[in-house]
């Protein structure tokens, strides 16, 4: 069967096909553009990683050198010079404190990347947990004459308004990271406000606000990526590895919460964490065995 095609039909058909080709081409272009962007990002992340490895040596070796040197000078003090011990010991403590904090972030990041960061839920006294973190940063804050204010309120009219089920170790590291950042990026003699509440949605909300250098919009997007550090105009030496916020974000997500940042350059920054209340069963008896027991019967499918 021979069907005759008119020239017009042919032209129309060709036109349609050209259109389709064109559309496919633009889609392809868009896709390859996306691909290029992802590729760039992975490359950047990779180079940051190798940069990180060379940095680690310095950032671990230097504090150790000062700890060794300072403790050496304590041991060589004469018996009547013991009033000099205090400032030296304080310096040792702050170096060791920093080192410990940095190492915690490194190990936390390694654990998250290895898929071993399981939430371990228990009832936690949020009020005293936050206070203990603030207390541990008191010396650091004093050095910059920063004032830390802490407010706690609970909208939940329960018998224990200070308690909330969560992972206390993870929450401690999250809080340390937020507080450490706010101290780091504050100018001298400013204040830092921390407030915490259990809100109407029965979420634990923790807000850390500083009035320091702030973060511009472009940087805010990258803030939670690994090995990315904010610009610091205050310290000539910008310590840390840029792991803190990426660890914090992963932890928040593992607790099914979210973290937000609100900031403008020179006006400071507000970081807010929201953690929903975990389902009752998952934390009551520890977490792993009874809490998430799954019962199967013989009739269930097997693979």
């Amino acid at each position: 069967m021979n069907k005759r095609i008119t020239d017009e039909d042919l032209l129309n058909e060709l036109k349609i096909r050209f259109e389709q080709n064109k559309k496919a081409l633009t889609e392809l272009k868009q896709k390859s553009e996306q691909l290029r962007k992802v590729n760039e990002k992975l490359k950047e992340s990779e180079s940051l990683k190798s940069h990180f490895l060379s940095n680690v040596t310095n950032e671990i070796v230097n504090p150790f050198a000062s700890i060794l040197g300072l403790s050496q000078s304590i041991t060589s003090l004469k018996i009547d010079e013991y009033e000099k011990i205090r400032p030296l010991a304080q310096l040792i403590h702050s170096e060791a404190f920093n080192l410990d904090f940095q190492l915690k972030n490194i190990f936390a990041a390694a654990k998250i990347e290895a898929g071993l960061a399981q939430p371990e839920l228990a009832i936690v006294n949020i009020h005293s947990l936050i206070e203990s973190i603030i207390e541990s940063y008191r010396y650091k804050a004093q050095q910059k004459e920063l004032k830390i204010q802490f407010k706690y309120k609970s909208k939940n009219k329960s018998t224990s308004p200070h308690e909330f089920p969560t992972d206390s170790e993870k929450l401690k590291l999250m809080m340390s990271n937020l507080l450490n950042n706010s101290i780091k990026y504050s100018n001298a003699a400013e204040k830092i406000e921390i407030s915490s509440e259990i809100n109407e949605k029965d979420e634990l909300k923790i807000m850390v606000r500083d009035y320091g250098v702030g973060i511009n919009k472009n940087e805010q997007e990258k803030l939670f990526d690994r090995f990315v550090k904010g610009e610091s105009t205050i310290h000539s030496l910008n310590e840390g590895y840029g792991l803190g916020l990426s660890v914090t974000k992963s932890y928040v997500e593992s607790l099914e919460g979210r973290i937000t940042v609100d900031s403008e350059p020179k006006k400071g920054a507000v970081f807010t964490i929201y953690l929903p209340r975990p389902e009752e069963t998952s934390y009551l008896e520890g977490f792993s065995d009874d809490g998430n027991q799954i019962f199967f019967e013989d009739s269930d499918e097997e693979f």
Partner: protein, 157 residues
Amino acid sequence: MNQELPIYYLYPANLYAPQEHYLINTLLGSCVAICMYDPIAKIGGMNHFMLPLWNGEGLASPKYGNIAIEKLLENILKNGAKKHNVIAKVFGGGEVIESQHHYFNIGLRNIEVAHKMLKELNIPINGESTGGKLGRKIQFDTFTGSVKMKYINKQQM
């Protein structure tokens, strides 16, 4: 019979590959879990990923399929499994209603990355229950390699 065995509840974005005999439990919505198992060495492990590919954001964690699959294989090989013996079973990727994120077709994309990567790694898929509209509970026996599965009618995982 399995009452005495230790049970490990696997959370999303984590993976578990023990050397001992464990039952690994997990709950799946649009997430995908892959159980890898070496029937000769009797070594197994499970991952549980939420998104298909890592795009350089945040940490390179097993929240992402491409990383979770590589890491799981790495882990069971470390425990003594042999690559040419390893088989896989794939579960999850249902199109349940997600409250947390609104990615398009996330379940299907998770399944796709599982198929693609297992093929590239030459790991045969010996059991599978993916897609659909329901969530799943699974329990993996790391010594026998068997996986029990139950559908659940849960709106969000």
